[in-house]
């Protein structure tokens, strides 16, 4: 039994076509894209919320449940060893994918939110004290705001917020001004889910490290769109979710530099994360096990590894180029629409088009385009401070994935015309 080699054979098919990015044959890998919605072909443009799953991911998980499922790191029986190997192979797969130095730097969690909470709770409570500062940005998702507010309230530390400008870019001079020797950690998003802005993470890491601060990067939107190398970025922690990367929901990754993880106390207590327990005391396991209390999501990482194989066979650079083309095409096409205002016009932007149509509420847009088979997101995108900044209650967001086409963008634009027709 050589897992996941059984699936690598299907992966080799992708090798042949990766020379030319053939979006139509890629679409055939995603069973759900053949669905119809309200009698129309499904046009799925809500990829920043979550992405659809290729057959390779569904099959890898199905195969594991059928042939290699047991609890991990416990049994001496064959099935448990097989499950443990699949789970640990997935960890190594993730390590190589993001360029981490060691698989022990990869902690499996439920998702980006849990990864950030883990750092705020474990690293935060040991290293951040009253009078210390935490620096975030105005474009953060609630998941990179609230955990730091909780830590602030528990420790008496200060939470500082670096502002964004009218295009939705971080104001670097302000960021530099707010960064100081009291800053213990900088927590920022790599790619903004509400604006599409790509932050200059490498430069920010250099500035933060020069000031003695650690850096956590929320990479939930970045990892599906572009090549990420944590050692090249130089960050101390990097968090992302599987479900936005065409893998299953319920699993995510916290990358942490080993010496930092090794110095951190457990986040949750329980089975698996210990070496020895008596009623007087417990000795904790080394990372990453220390942070994986209880029976983990066993099959989730296997699905994530299959998703990573899938996107790497297509090529992250090819995916980025394809999505950039879609964004450019959509940005130009929507400019013709009366009353259109794009929220977020950063010079470096990834596959997200957030907008408002003058006089029409995003929820009405969402419902009407849904009738045309077009799935968009309407709301505050869990980034209420961004909405406040641009003085809108909500926006409508189209977000593009590796399987979207220009024809789908045409259908999206046609559906926006329909909105005007219905609501005048």
């Amino acid at each position: 039994m050589n897992y996941p080699g059984d699936f690598m054979s299907t992966a080799s098919e992708y090798l042949h076509r990766s020379k030319a990015y053939d979006v139509y044959s890629i679409r055939a890998d995603f069973p759900i894209l053949a669905e119809r919605s309200n009698g129309k072909p499904l046009v799925y443009l809500d990829n920043a919320a979550t992405s659809q799953k290729p057959r390779a991911v569904l099959e890898a998980m199905d195969w594991t449940y059928r042939h290699a499922y047991a609890n991990v790191h416990r049994g001496v029986h064959t099935l448990s060893e097989r499950a443990t190997k699949a789970y640990e192979d997935a960890r190594t797969r993730v390590q190589r994918f993001i360029g981490a130095a060691d698989p022990r730097e990869i902690v499996f969690v439920r998702g980006t939110t849990e990864a950030i909470n883990l750092v705020a709770s474990s690293f935060g409570r040991t290293n951040i004290h009253s009078g210390d500062e935490i620096l975030i940005t105005e474009m953060e998702h609630h998941s990179n705001i609230v955990p730091w507010q909780l830590l602030r309230d528990q420790t008496g530390a200060k939470l500082r917020v670096a502002p964004i400008n009218e295009t939705g870019e971080l104001v670097m001079e302000e960021f530099e001004r707010l960064l100081n020797e009291r800053t213990r950690i900088v927590a920022l998003v790599h790619v903004s889910n509400a604006l599409g802005t790509i932050n200059p993470v490498k430069r920010i890491v250099e500035m933060a490290h020069a000031m003695g601060a650690k850096v956590l990067v929320d990479g939930a939107q970045a990892v599906p769109h572009m090549r990420v190398d944590v050692q090249d970025l130089g960050c101390d922690f990097y968090a992302f979710s599987s479900h936005k990367l065409y893998g299953p929901s319920g699993v995510g990754v916290l990358y942490g530099r080993y010496e930092l993880l090794d110095a951190m106390p457990p986040y949750q207590g329980g089975g698996e994360m210990i070496r020895r327990v008596t009623f007087e005391r417990s000795d904790y396991a080394k990372p990453p096990t220390r942070f994986e209390a209880g029976t983990p999501n066993i099959v989730g990482p296997v699905g994530l590894a299959a998703a990573i194989n899938y996107v790497e066979e297509l090529g992250l650079d090819n995916i980025a180029a394809h999505e950039d083309d879609l964004l450019r095409y959509a940005t130009e096409a929507t400019a013709e629409l009366p009353g259109m205002r794009i929220i977020g016009n950063a010079a470096r932007k990834a596959s997200i088009l957030s907008f408002e149509l003058e006089g029409i509420h995003p929820h009405d847009i969402g419902t009407i385009v849904d009738h045309e088979g077009v799935a968009l997101r309407a709301g505050h995108h869990c980034a209420m401070p961004v909405m406040d900044h641009f003085k809108v209650p909500a926006t409508t967001r189209a977000s593009f994935g590796l399987y979207n086409t220009r024809e789908e963008i045409d259908a999206f634009i046609a559906s926006l015309h329909k909105v005007r027709e219905v609501l005048g």
Partner: protein, 149 residues
């Protein structure tokens, strides 16, 4: 497949563009703010109720989608001159019509707000249609803040 026109009828689009009784009321003696934290919609409902328990005036302010604005606009038209008990009865009847699997209230008893009964087919939009009604109910109950969550 439900027809989109059943939801966005012309009368709804028209009320959205020209909402009735869309104003602050200086001498209101009942008032409540309703919010839908999910979408950020926020409406304030003002009422003036006399000693006989008759709604003498009702108005609203705020921002929302076409469904919530038209529902509020139609509601203010319907409630003016009605007894408080009648306002509560309409609230219950409308709420049941759009939330119950097997609504007992007949559409005719709903009056003008029956145009919004089609929202039943759109579970994610029911809260938009009922926001102003919940807020009106809260104002009559003496609560000043109501949230759909």
């Amino acid at each position: 497949m439900s027809d989109l026109r059943a939801l966005y009828q012309e009368v709804i689009a028209e009320h959205n563009k020209n909402p009735r009784n869309f104003r602050w009321m200086e001498d209101a003696n009942r008032m409540a703010v309703g919010v839908n934290p999910l979408c950020g919609d926020k409406l304030t409902v003002y009422m003036k109720v006399d000693e006989q328990g008759i709604v003498r005036d009702v108005s609203f302010e705020g921002s929302g989608c076409a469904i919530s604005v038209s529902s509020a606009s139609i509601m203010t038209q319907m409630l003016k001159g009605k007894k408080v008990e009648e306002a509560e009865r309409l609230f219950n009847a409308f709420h049941e019509a759009v939330t119950k699997d097997d609504p007992q209230s007949d559409l005719e008893a709903l009056g003008k707000i029956a145009v919004l009964a089609g929202v039943r087919a759109y579970p994610s939009r029911v809260k938009c249609a009922t926001l102003s009604w919940h807020t009106m109910h809260a104002a009559l109950e003496g609560e000043e803040w109501v949230s759909t969550e």
